[in-house]
Symmetry: D2
Subunit: 303 residues, 4 copies
């Protein structure tokens, strides 16, 4: 399969079951909604080292938020429910409770409800006020008004937790580093418009792809040498001579279709720079299909 | 003391001994240096909940960085050296090793050297290369070139760790929330130009100031009710009738003088909006002077 | 009429017939699409002094543009067709022809077609190539590929010109300058999501509202003293004692309904800060209804 | 001469005498100073089509501006003094007088003083107030306080006009468009730190370099075909086979040394991407040395 001169490997991305939640953060204006969201989703690139993977899903117009103020929605993913709940609480307390003018609301429905402001309310030292407001379906939702120095911190009591998928991915192989970066930049720009997904690495892109195992006994993962351009002569390389830089975009999403769409849009946009722009080949990372139950076959996704 | 009609309380900020380090992050362009730095300094608002307090100190011109590429410098603060070292390693691995085109360098000299890339090098699975390059003083510095997919991850082996101070602060008391926010915004803009300091909260500002103790036995801190405008009638309030919003700027810095200067610049800039802009009074937070050894007396700092 | 405690004057905005066009600008990534668009829509705040009023209407996803690359759409308004055509050509030549990786496409259909790249093609010195590509309706559209140093400048030959409306407006009256600014900021954020409109002044807001006439014979307009807070004691003021700052948002749009919607969204969002946030009253500017044929009655628009 | 593998042509840039002025724009915060400055310096890419070339020189800390508020400095260049004076007045009236919270100050000293707010004061309809404030040298400077809706528009009466130079330049020749763009991006980032210069084209870069003359009698300039990569086979090309994209950075500055420094910094930074990043050669544009009195020999500038 060729798109705009770029070869698309006949391979698949292997992804895993995860738990996810969405939170809507509002503030006096978008700038401050972003301050809160950036703090909350920072240091959340990989569940292995950070506990969660998190990112800003999209910007919300004032007319689209529960309190009619400008906002953003963020998504968080973790391997298990306990980790997700703990990380959500901690990050809420450290980044939203603290941020001037910020408020927090549930961003997703689910029979599984997890604490958003439920425990934070005790920060109010007994002065917190509860409000029950029926939602669009007539079901009562509980909110907490917690007195703080800038006024009140308004937060919904809980938000939903759902089953989700993490680890969708594709690799961009290019003839130089600036070209790989340019292709990934436009891919990320386009993928940011897709709802229900985030790309958790810095700028949405990761360059330190890894393989299972290492010559060092204590390390369970190490650099993916088959895709390292400076090791082309030294290892069993996947790279042809002309490839000088490889970058990867990892995608976490609520459903298989969400990740498939983001993968498709991302690859097509990266390929728009074409061979002329130094993009030679698109691939994907997997573990032989043995570890993760969700397989995104590139040729099917792009069909 | 009055500045531009704004009353300056005769009080002091009480700050603590901390350990700090500086890292210089470079990338192909500033945009990607910021992606790496934002990931690394996110979720780092307070040592209590995040382990570290971190932020971007300033932008660096390509001519001012060790590898002649655009960059930023970041500062990290923790209560003890072990926590700092652990957090630095983890955040380096999660946010800089991963970020396309990023490189990392020592940002501060010290007899106390801590690992920057020292352990990350093993990610290279034996293919990493070490380089010794003499610095400006003629002393050999060790760098690691770690093969990754986008090319190489270049990192200095260690960076310095120094004694520093955290918890400098001042409070802005205003007649409405938008006015408090506007005053703090310009204060932060000005303080960002001061070297050797960071303001770790979201957007540099915190609205959830706390007091020691709580009616709930398990909580050791709770909302600072004396400064909560919605509790004016209900508690022993510090606030006059006209104060409707209070926000706080917390400052961590390398030395007492750095924090004093940032405090002065911040307060003077907040006061530039004046009483006309709704800014009535500036105060500061302390524990009676009994917990932290560093006291920033507002009237002395502003003299 | 009161919204969130804010008084809405029973008055109307008086707007004028104008001509308008839309251009879609694409580039390698959004950042460069914005560079081109910002240059093209700069110095275009008022037809009186700049010849045109122009602004960025919205960002376009790569999948939503004619060439599948990231882009933005811009709108330009002028009093007459000749001025619009001349300004469009000049600004295209100075800001889009010049901008690395930029391409330009028609953004609006009309029986009235005006030159987009039609005359610019001669810059190709005879080497320009024409392409006819049928559009979605099967009608042939002509594009020009003009050889330039970065590759080729691709531009559609013409774009549509339509009748439109300019000068919709509302005024925000607040108890201090920072509060007026905060209210207008969030209003503009919300209005930017409305298609078919632009707010041409810097940041979308104007503070130098004028009245017809002046004590100086050569000047046909001067400061709107009835709305100047520092002249409250000296003139026949429209302002109550507590109003210390007034700002105005001017709206140009393709149809009456577009401007009405933007006005409604803008006022409602400004009012969300409420009396607590210093917003006391909303008004609008008109000439007694004698000059402009389009009247936006605030109470009707907000109904 | 080779820098990082990149060939530096032994040629020179040919630049012209111009007149210039600097204006300092302050506002409540940097965001609004930028709104005013972007409007004022938009549509100012080339004196031929826009009348002036203008750009933001740098950001100013609140402590570095005349009124102690955040600001930016802008530079404007024109071929003659009359054009400069007229453009400055018009752009001041359209973009600074109009912008909420903006103030304007002289940014450069000169025996030649031109109107900044001198004529704008009449907008105050007789209510404007003049203030004389001695500057650091003890010389009285006149300021005008003009009543407007948001409060007052404070502007200095005049600013200085100086002889300057426009048209310094260098060309970046690369093996693909994304690589040329990446190299120019980092060059511009570095050049923005150099005082006294601006790069007036969109994003600071121009791709439509021209030559004198055209096959069309009415056009005095046309595409620089010798540097157009799609014309390599058809004209007397300056480009080797591997060059697929050329971009140019034009520099206007106050003195020869300012432009020489910016040229040096820009070229060195573009070359930092190196041959590996697709940058093969640096050149410059001139008219044989016959038109412009200022010659920037690349090999001398880079020595």
């Amino acid at each position: 399969m060729i798109i705009n001169g770029v070869q698309i490997d006949d391979t698949f991305a292997e992804a895993f079951d995860m738990r996810s939640t969405r939170v809507i953060i509002t503030a006096q204006n978008h700038q401050w909604a972003y301050h809160a969201a950036n703090a909350m989703t920072g240091f959340a690139t990989s569940v292995i080292g950070c506990g969660v993977e998190a990112g800003i899903e999209r910007e919300l117009s004032a007319s689209d938020t529960p309190d009619g103020r400008p906002g953003v929605s963020i998504l968080m993913f973790a391997m298990g429910s306990k980790v997700l709940m703990k990380q959500l609480e901690t990050r809420m307390g450290q980044c939203i409770l603290t941020c001037p003018t910020a408020a927090a609301f549930s961003g997703i429905e689910s029979d599984d409800q997890i604490s958003l402001g439920k425990n934070l309310r005790y920060f109010g030292d007994g002065y917190q006020i509860s409000k029950l407001i029926p939602d669009a379906q007539g079901k009562n939702q509980r909110y907490w008004r917690i007195p703080v120095m800038d006024g009140e911190f308004l937060t919904q009591e809980t938000t939903g937790m759902v089953r989700a998928i993490g680890g969708g991915n594709f690799l961009v192989l290019a003839t130089s580093q600036p070209q790989a970066l340019a292709a990934c930049e436009v891919a990320i720009e386009a993928m940011k418009k897709i709802p229900n997904v985030i790309m958790p690495f810095p700028g949405g892109v990761v360059r330190s792809g890894s393989k299972v195992g290492s010559k060092y006994p204590s390390m369970f993962a190490s650099t993916n040498d088959a895709f390292c351009p400076t090791l082309k002569g030294m290892v069993n390389s996947e790279l042809s001579d002309d490839i000088e830089s490889v970058m990867e975009i990892v995608i976490d999403g609520l459903t298989f279709d969400d990740i498939a769409l983001a993968t498709k849009v991302g690859i097509e946009t990266a390929c728009s720079l074409g061979v002329k722009g130094g993009v030679k080949r698109i691939s994907a990372g997997n573990y032989g299909g043995k570890l993760g139950p969700h397989h995104f076959k590139l040729h099917e996704v792009l069909a």
